[in-house]
Subunit: 119 residues, 2 copies
Amino acid sequence: MTAINFKEKLARFSEHWSPRVIAEMNDYQFKLVKLQGEFVWHSHADTDEVFIVLDGSMDIEFRDKVVPLSPGEMYVVPAGVEHRPVAPQECCVLLVEPRGVVNTGEAGGAYTAANDVWV
Amino acid sequence: MTAINFKEKLARFSEHWSPRVIAEMNDYQFKLVKLQGEFVWHSHADTDEVFIVLDGSMDIEFRDKVVPLSPGEMYVVPAGVEHRPVAPQECCVLLVEPRGVVNTGEAGGAYTAANDVWV
C-alpha cells in the first residue's frame, strides 16, 4: 500500500511496444510503455486512449495531422480514429484506457503485445 | 488539436482545492488541482480515484496509514475508503476520475468546489 513510482516501474523492463499495467482504477488500467521507432497504423473502435509522456518525446501521427508530445504533456486519441505513435529515440509513456484494450487495436500484426501484463 | 501541457494549464489558475478539467476520455475526466494545507476527510462511494503528483509533495492520509507521494508517483484511492489529502507546501496533482465526481465526495462542506470547471 505505497505509492506507485513510474521510474522504479520503468526500470523493470526494456522491451519496446510492450505495455505493462501498473494500476487499475474501476475498469480502467494505467500502463507504462516504452516506444522506439514507428508503430503500426491502428484504431480502437470502442474507446478513447490517453497518452501522457513521462520521458523523451514522441509524435502521434494522424492521417491529417501530427501531434508532438514532450514530457508533461498528454493527448486523448478519440475512439475510432486511426493513429500511429512514432518515436525516433526511446520515449516512456503512461497510457490510460479500459481494461482489455489491445495495443494494435483493429490492426493486429507483429507488434501486438500480450495484454494485461503487470510490472 | 495540440498536446495538453500540464505546466501551461497550471499557470492559468491559483486557487487551492479547486479542480480544473483539462481533458475527457470516454466518461472519465483528467483534472489539475493545487493542494495546500489539510483537506476534509471524505470518500467516494461509487468510484476509485487516481492521484498523480506533478510538482511538490503530498500525503494521502487514511484512517490506518499514510501514503506519501512525490513527483512521478501515483496512487489509486479505492472506492468507499475514507481519505484526506494533506500538503504542507503547494502540490500540483493530476486527478483521474469519472465525470461528475465532487471533490469532497460524501462529506460536503466549505471545501466543496464547483464541478466540471475547465481550464
